[in-house]
């Protein structure tokens, strides 16, 4: 067994002072699947970015085929035969699969781009590595799982021998994971090496040959997958036994609060993202939405939150029709919204924490009277929330953009919950947030639910949905295809077959479950 890629003594401190990698060693054997696991913030992504040349280490060296190599840019890494597929795909939406794959290394005939040869080459590659995809289709029309294949094909087209996959399963339904793993096996059979970053342990155990575990910027151990168990890995990852658990809602009479009837929402391209949706939420319950990315859940949350027009149907909150109300009026009716992207939607990075917190309350006479701001009340309110949510921040006048992801998310959650909402939209509440903050945010959501709020929750992490939701619905291509009470026998696999459209509940069954 020969080592293909080695990292020795890698150390990385970011300009902000975060010591993300401390003296990391990693050895990857050719033709194997090597997983690197660790919770959010453990430093896995930083290490991978260093191996792909995106970040430069402060100390340490990288060896490829036993020879030291300096990766000063991704371009150098690609030239050396290292490819990487990030969680966020880098594909040009309007370009075809073939165009996306060959971009940058285009086949030519004379001055011209040779489209025919591009398509044939990509097609051949797709067949060889069991990554079936329509090479002439624009990528914006492809589901997420196929877009991921395009990313892998891009790396293979550039003759990557080592392929780094950053949380590749995070965006996939369980059955798509199966297909991805088939492709990974086909890759290793043909001599390619896979570095697989993940935090979902069952998957890691299934696909990997060896597993390296990181915690708080350090490498804490390496084991053969055959000798590891979920429990042993989890203990290595967090340094203690993990028991993230949230109490379910109390049983008892819950009234209907939010009624969504016949809702239709269009996406940015003018196509139906949500079609004729009916859903009722009761007070004091969390309804989870399971769906593969791109099946309408983003548009649904945007529309309910007032960021996207509602094309048809109606939304009622506590008997008030809020369909055509402005965001301000919806918020007055008791709506709050923890958006999926805290930076693009949930905050104004250049404004202070206090300004970010008061932004949703500018109609409240506690803070604004006759159009004038009460600066003291605004600051005091921010100081109170910072303390209550233990946000690590210099003070209410610090720009929110200077906070870490977890702390920024806490500010967003604090602001939305401080309004005592009766209806709460929650999208990916703990994406990129460390375990401590995750636990904290889960608890706050459960409290809001116990306080009588109706919560609509979506997350790419099925385990988060299963941990929090009282009921689950599955969206596929903009329609509800299944609904369940969240009981112990509801598994990711069951959800997965509905998420991929392999199964759909019958009309009567659905109606009964949704009632």
């Amino acid at each position: 067994m020969t080592l293909i890629l080695e990292a020795r003594g890698i150390d990385k401190t970011y300009p902000g002072g975060v010591h993300a990698n401390q003296n990391i060693d990693l050895s990857v054997t050719a033709g194997t699947v090597h997983a690197v696991v660790g919770e959010n913030g453990a430093g896995k992504s930083t290490l991978m970015k260093i191996l792909f040349g995106v970040e430069q280490p402060n100390a340490g060296e990288i060896l490829l085929d036993g020879k030291p190599i300096v990766l000063h840019s991704p371009r150098a890494a690609i030239a050396a035969g290292i490819g990487m597929v990030f969680q966020h795909f880098s594909l040009v939406p309007s370009f075809t699969v073939a165009e996306n794959v060959v971009l940058g290394v285009e086949p030519r005939s004379g001055l011209k781009l040779d489209r025919k040869r591009a398509a044939e080459t990509v097609q051949a590659l797709a067949e060889r590595f069991r990554l079936p995809v329509d090479v002439e289709s624009p990528v914006e029309r492809l589901p997420v799982g196929q877009q991921q294949r395009v990313e892998i094909l891009k790396a293979l087209y550039r003759e990557a021998r080592v392929l780094i996959l950053d949380e590749p399963t995070a965006v996939l339904a369980p059955q798509e994971v199966v297909e991805l793993f088939a492709a990974i096996r086909s890759l290793t059979e043909q001599g390619r090496t896979i570095l697989f970053i993940a935090h979902k342990l069952p998957e890691v155990l299934e696909i990997s040959d060896r597993i390296s575990v990181m915690r708080a910027g350090k490498m804490v151990g390496e084991v053969a997958a055959s000798e590891a168990t979920e429990k042993s890995l989890a203990r290595m990852m967090v340094g203690r036994d993990v028991a993230l658990k949230v109490e379910r809602a109390h049983k008892g009479p819950h009234e209907h609060f939010c009624r969504i009837a016949g809702l239709t929402v269009k996406n940015d391209r003018g196509l139906d993202a949500i079609k004729d949706m009916d859903l009722v939420l009761r007070t004091g319950e969390i309804v989870g939405i399971a769906a593969v990315e791109g099946n309408g859940q983003s548009e649904l949350f945007d529309a309910l939150g007032g960021l996207r027009p509602i094309e048809g149907g109606s939304v009622e909150l506590g008997g008030i029709d809020v369909t055509d109300l402005s965001v301000e009026e919806k918020r007055d009716a008791g709506l709050a919204h923890i958006p999926e992207d805290r930076i693009a939607t949930g905050s104004a990075g250049g404004a202070t924490i206090a300004e970010n917190i008061v932004a949703t309350e500018l109609g409240d006479t506690r803070f604004v009277r006759r159009g004038l701001l009460d600066g003291k009340a605004i600051r005091d309110h921010a100081v109170e929330l910072i303390a209550k949510f233990s946000v690590r921040a210099p003070g209410p006048d610090a720009a929110i953009g200077t906070l870490s992801g977890g702390n920024m998310q806490k500010v967003v959650v604090a602001r939305e919950l401080s309004a005592k909402p009766r209806m709460l939209l929650v999208s990916h509440p703990t994406r990129g947030v460390d375990l401590g903050a995750t636990e904290f945010i889960w608890q706050r959501l459960a409290e809001a639910r116990d306080g009588g709020a109706s919560i609509l929750l979506t997350s790419a992490d099925l385990s988060e949905l299963l941990a929090l939701a009282d009921r689950m619905i599955v969206l596929y291509r903009g329609r509800i295809v299944a609904a369940f009470a969240n009981t112990a026998d509801l598994t990711p696999e069951v959800l997965g077959s509905y998420m991929l459209g392999f199964a759909a509940q019958g009309h009567e069954e659905l109606k009964a479950a949704l009632a």
């Binding site: 960021l307 965001v327 919204h337 949930g346 949703t360 159009g371 200077t402």
Partner: protein
């Protein structure tokens, strides 16, 4: 970074930019003047050479401050409306109409002229805002087009209705003294305009930092999607910011024509000053309270260049080069020489502060 440190480092950048720009001006003067030293001296000390030139400097600074305020309001909302020039022309035209009407024989023409000018400017500011909010029309292009339209319109109204034959149809008759801003110091341009400019500074500061409207405007500027998500009607904020900015532009027009400097409507009266408000706004980082100081500093250079244009063989237009270079340097995010070293020394401490 503390407020004090921020002001220090910003001031440092500004001075650095000004020094570079002046060095370029010096090179141009050396190349083009037969008497470069005298020319450069006129450029640098000319504004202080008499009571009259000091007055002109202060008057220029008042006008630059108003132009800067108009730009900073829209820039804070991250709108690139560049229509101040057109607003100045329409404002000047309307103020002149009042001043040359029978109302001009009473002092009432001064507030009325200002109000009419502000209304006209506000309308002109409103149009690109509304077109952007309702029709998604790019505000940069539409506001620039309106500048040309307003200029032509003003020139036409002047020629057809207001011009005096004595001037060869390029200017109106002088306004009656009752319609002209009273001067503080006789035979200088220091007049009511200075007061109006300072009052506007305070009003804009108050609007931006003490009212809910101002907070909404700034949040919209920071992140329009966040503003919409928070329940701020960002389209309304955008349009109203452009409208208020337009009113300030219109007021500047009244200041021009009713000020002691002109006291009449003349063709092309603003002579490009409006666009120099961009420089004032950028250098002041769109902060209203910094604007008077920047306007004084830049107004001084501008006045020096104008005097150089009159008194020497180098044209006043050199100031355009100085102005452009200052904008380029101030808008850039490069650090001052020596800062990297300073950062390394301070590095340990600031990291400790952050955690």
């Amino acid at each position: 970074m503390t407020q004090g440190k921020l002001i220090l480092s910003e001031t440092g950048r500004m001075i650095f930019a000004a020094v570079i720009a002046l060095a370029v001006a010096l090179v141009i003067i050396l190349l083009s003047s037969k008497t470069p030293l005298e020319t450069f001296q006129t450029f640098l000390t000319g504004p202080l050479s008499s009571k009259r030139t000091v007055g002109t400097w202060i008057d220029d600074a008042s006008k630059l401050a108003l132009a800067g305020l108009a730009f900073s309001l829209v820039f804070q909302a991250r709108q690139f409306a560049l229509g101040v020039q057109g607003q100045v022309y329409i404002g000047g035209l309307l103020a002149s109409t009042i001043a040359l009407s029978p109302l001009g024989l009473s002092w009432i023409s001064i507030p009325l002229g200002a109000i009419a000018a502000m209304l006209g400017g506000a309308l002109l500011g409103f149009i690109p805002g509304y077109a952007k909010a309702k029709l998604n029309a790019n505000e940069i292009v539409s506001s620039l087009m309106l500048n040309y339209i307003a200029y032509d319109f003003t020139a036409m109204m002047l020629r057809l209705y207001l011009a005096s034959p004595k001037s060869g149809l390029t200017a109106s008759d002088p306004f009656p003294p009752t319609a002209v801003y009273p001067a503080f110091i006789a035979r200088t341009r220091m007049d009511l305009g200075l007061v109006l400019a300072l009052v506007t500074v305070v009003v804009v500061w108050f609007l931006l930092y003490r009212t809910a409207w101002g907070l909404k405007l700034r949040l919209t500027g920071h992140n329009a999607r966040f503003a919409a998500y928070s329940g701020i009607r960002s389209n309304f904020i955008m349009v109203s910011a452009m409208t208020v900015s337009g009113a300030i532009g219109g007021l500047l027009g009244a200041l021009f024509v009713q000020g002691t400097g002109f006291a009449k409507l003349a063709a092309g009266f603003e002579a490009g000053l409006s666009f120099e408000g961009i420089l004032i706004a950028i250098v002041a980082r769109n902060r209203p309270l910094a604007i008077p100081f920047v306007a004084l500093g830049y107004g001084y250079l501008r006045q020096g260049a104008a005097l150089m244009g009159y008194r020497t063989d180098v044209p006043a237009e050199v100031i355009g080069i100085v102005q452009g270079i200052v904008i380029l340097l101030v808008a850039s995010s490069f650090t001052l020489p020596g800062r990297a070293l300073l950062n390394r020394i301070m590095g340990g401490r600031s990291a400790a502060e952050a955690s």
